[in-house]
Amino acid sequence: MIFLRQSLTIAVKDLRAELRSKEAINASLSFAIVILLLFSFAFDPSSEQTREISGGLLWLVFAFAGALVLNRSFARELTNDCLEALIASPVSGAALFLGKALSNFLVLIAIELLSLPVFGIFYNVRWTGQFWTLMMILLLATWGLTVIGTVFSALTVNLRLRELMLPTLVYPILIPALLPAIQLTSAVIAGQPLTADLYAGLRLLIAFNIIFTALALGLVETILVG
């Protein structure tokens, strides 16, 4: 109970601070919209082509825009040495990580949900056909992105080139989650039913999330304190 209460306290604090400063939200949302706009001008794809590339395009945008949110996650604690106060408090590294991951997850989901209608308009694609299936894929893949990103945000927080290091470290590890997410998103937007292959992708996403969440919770104390 204490663990969850502390995690929620951290998550609420991060969300409140982000909603007041809007640093990460503004940067990430405008980046996502600009990329979607530029791609639509650059390739001018037909409706059929768009359905085929929709998964790759959306997850490319979400992953890059997400890096801007995740980079700020632990970096915001450096101002005024707040990270030291958190580590010195009786909050475990795992509770701190979970709180930050929850807050990042909610911000990323909000950015994705705001980007989807923009995608629909720019590419003239109806993406709401299998809305709840698409939501499930978004939730699963975004949690994977959040967990990996939050861990590496903690790991790179004291590096001078952390804005560069975080994506460099995160994207290769994310490949096992991004590939099924791309495949599933393309299929769902194209209106295809979920086949056995696609269900295997869903299972892979779930396994990825369980494994990396457990690893992150176990390792973050060592990452933060040494």
């Binding site: 204490i2 209460r5 502390q6 005024n80 707040c82 106060a85 408090s89 009786p90």
Partner: protein, 233 residues
């Protein structure tokens, strides 16, 4: 049982030994002034005692338990170089946040009490980013004392404080010592530190050069310790 027991602590930054086999004890209710020139290892040692960093070798016990123990961390109040409060939150939200993290029974009421004690009750809902430097420092002091810690770790607490914040902090430290709490503070302000201290430790390039009671000689001549045990001694 000692309030803090440091045994054979080593700490390296790369290959550079920042602390070399440091051992000492601090008894409950004592006030230890941790002295030394810049780079002597004071902040590194305080971070290890506060559980912010782990030693490469040796260990630290706080009230008989490991420094990273959850219960131990709840007993420690730390005031470091930074103010450790959030610019985007109000003074009240900051104190309530830390009250919750420290598991206080009524974080809101305790936060209001400390805002009053530090003279910040009128700006309780103001965002910290709009505060003057002195107000931010008083809020930092309130944050460190909020959970009534039995051990206070202060890293150069008087540096960059304005007159009012110094008065608030001195008053709180005197009360804490009168209440039997333990204080460990590093400082370059020898006269102020020696007036409060019951014990003194001097670090010289990561090695403990002196540890003992604060004597009348030190109080009369704050430079005495450096002349007898410092690098040039």
């Amino acid at each position: 049982m000692s309030a803090v027991r440091v045994e054979g602590v080593w700490k390296y930054y790369g290959h550079f030994p920042a602390l070399r086999d440091v051992s000492f004890q601090v008894e409950p209710g004592a006030c230890l002034a941790l002295l030394g020139r810049n780079g002597a290892g004071k902040t590194t040692l305080l971070k290890i005692i506060a559980g912010l960093s782990r030693p490469a070798d040796g260990h630290v016990l706080v009230a008989g338990k490991e420094a990273r123990d959850r219960e131990t961390r709840a007993r420690i109040g730390i005031l470091g170089h930074g103010i450790a409060v959030y610019d985007e939150l109000s003074a009240f939200e900051n104190l309530k946040l830390f009250g919750r993290l420290y598991g206080l029974r009524d974080p809101a009421r305790t936060a209001l009490e400390w805002l009053e004690r530090t003279g910040l009750e009128r700006v309780r809902d103001g965002l910290v980013r709009e505060f003057s430097r002195g107000m931010r420092q008083r809020l930092a002091v309130a944050r460190a004392f909020l959970h009534s810690p039995s051990i206070l770790i202060l890293d150069e607490p008087f540096t960059a404080l304005d007159d009012r914040a110094i008065a608030v902090l001195q008053g709180l430290l005197e009360k804490a010592l009168a209440d039997g709490r333990t204080v460990i503070m590093s400082t370059h302000q020898l006269r102020e530190a020696l007036q409060l201290a019951t014990n003194v430790a001097l670090l010289n390039r990561g090695k403990l050069a002196y540890h003992g009671e604060r004597t009348a000689e030190m109080l009369a001549d704050p430079g005495w310790l450096y002349r007898h045990y410092g690098e040039m001694a």
